[in-house]
């Protein structure tokens, strides 16, 4: 890593450069998909290994999976409520696991050692496309949750205490995905940039505490995203009289 400043001069810190793949008329960011497949592969491998031989007395990876399951269930149950949390647990859990593994993968794996023709590998969540995709999925989910649970009465929520709330609630529908996506994107990208800049300036020792801070931030961001997603869904299905 000490060689990095010479390999990547700061002027070319690769911010906003992408490895483009062309599929028909569509252009996609190849480096994001490559790391996201690794993340998904790691998740699936863990899950397959852990559920291969499940027993009543858990052993090995099964313990970890059950801990995660329990954690996600508690998260979903406290935010969404006893009645419908089961339907949304897989979604909340997938968001949490995907973001968490993405963030930690971005922070722990020295992706920069793998050279790409353009752009560089990193956490998929450091790309605005990923976070906006996740945030829009959350928006769709809470609309779907509200409409499927309460039908058109869902829209009572917009005028709930008084009709004066209507414009604010409408604005909220836009700010929710905006804040969700930008919070995650900003935190992860900023963390990667800070580490990169510090590695460039002082290649020894100094970046290490910042890297630990980055791990902390990564975990917290995954938790925040999943908790807020669950909270929005819970808000949409909540019955208020």
């Amino acid at each position: 890593m000490g060689l990095l400043p010479f390999v990547f001069p700061f002027a070319e810190l690769e911010v906003g450069k992408h490895l483009y793949w062309q599929i028909g008329d569509l252009r996609i960011h190849g480096q994001v998909f490559m790391t996201s497949w690794i993340v998904i592969g790691a998740l699936l491998a863990l899950v397959v290994v852990g559920t291969k031989k499940m027993e009543r007395d858990p052993r090995g990876v099964q313990n970890l999976l059950e801990f995660l399951w329990d954690y996600i269930r508690d998260l979903a149950r406290t935010q969404i409520g006893e009645k419908v949390y089961r339907d949304w647990m897989p979604f909340i859990g997938t968001l949490f696991l995907f973001i968490f593994v993405s963030n930690w993968g971005g922070a722990l794996v020295p992706w920069r050692l793998i050279r790409l023709p353009s752009g560089e590998l990193g956490a998929p969540t450091a790309d605005i496309n990923t976070t906006v995709a996740l945030a829009l999925l959350v928006s769709l989910s809470y609309f779907y949750a509200g409409l499927s649970n309460k039908g058109l009465r869902y829209f009572e929520y917009y005028v709930h205490p008084t009709p004066i709330m209507l414009p604010f609630k409408i604005v909220e529908d836009f700010t929710k995905p905006l804040s969700l996506s930008f919070r995650l994107f900003g935190n992860i990208l900023a963390d990667e940039l800070v580490v990169a800049v510090l590695v460039f300036l002082v290649p020894l020792v100094l970046p290490v505490p910042v890297m630990f801070l980055g791990l902390f931030t990564s975990a917290i961001q995954a938790l925040i995203f999943a908790t807020l997603a669950a909270y929005y869904i819970g808000e949409a299905v909540e019955e208020h009289h």
Partner: protein, 153 residues
């Protein structure tokens, strides 16, 4: 230069939206379904089965404990009864043996007394007979002495 990258519209930039967005969304939705089948359902099943198992086991154990306590008190009561019964049997036996002892003692004493009495009577009668004989013999002797003395005179 960086700002050009940040907001550059045509090529690259931090806010470069393209088909990555919908494809990533599709990917995450697929991942949700896959994880639901591979992870959430099976692990949930195992965890909930275990929770059920623990709950029923606890209930069973409580029931068994209650049963054990009931049996214990039962047995304690039985033990108490048995102790009392045993005490009674011992007392009875002691009294019985005491009575038997006394009866045998009385019988033996009476028998001894009667045989002693009989012996005494026999001794008395024999002594009487001997004394009488002695008296007769003495009288005879006396008579004989007297006769001889008188005859010699």
């Amino acid at each position: 230069m960086t700002s050009l990258f940040l907001f550059g519209a045509s090529e690259g930039g931090l806010f470069d939206f393209d088909a990555t967005l919908p494809l990533m969304a599709v990917q995450v939705v697929l991942l949700t379904f896959i994880l639901n089948t591979l992870f959430f359902k099976p692990v949930g099943k195992v965890v909930e089965e275990r929770e059920d198992y623990v709950t029923t086991s606890r209930a069973e154990a409580k029931q068994k404990l209650a049963e054990v306590e009931r049996l214990e008190s039962d047995l304690k009561a039985q033990l108490k009864e048995a102790r009392l019964a045993a005490q009674k049997v011992i007392n009875d036996a002691e009294q019985d043996s005491d009575k038997l002892y006394r009866e045998a003692m009385a019988l033996a004493t009476a028998e001894a007394n009667s045989s002693r009495e009989k012996a005494r009577l026999e001794i008395d009668s024999q002594r009487e007979a001997a004394l009488n004989q002695l008296k007769v013999d003495a009288d005879k002797l006396g008579d004989l002495i007297v006769e001889r003395l008188l005859a010699a005179k």
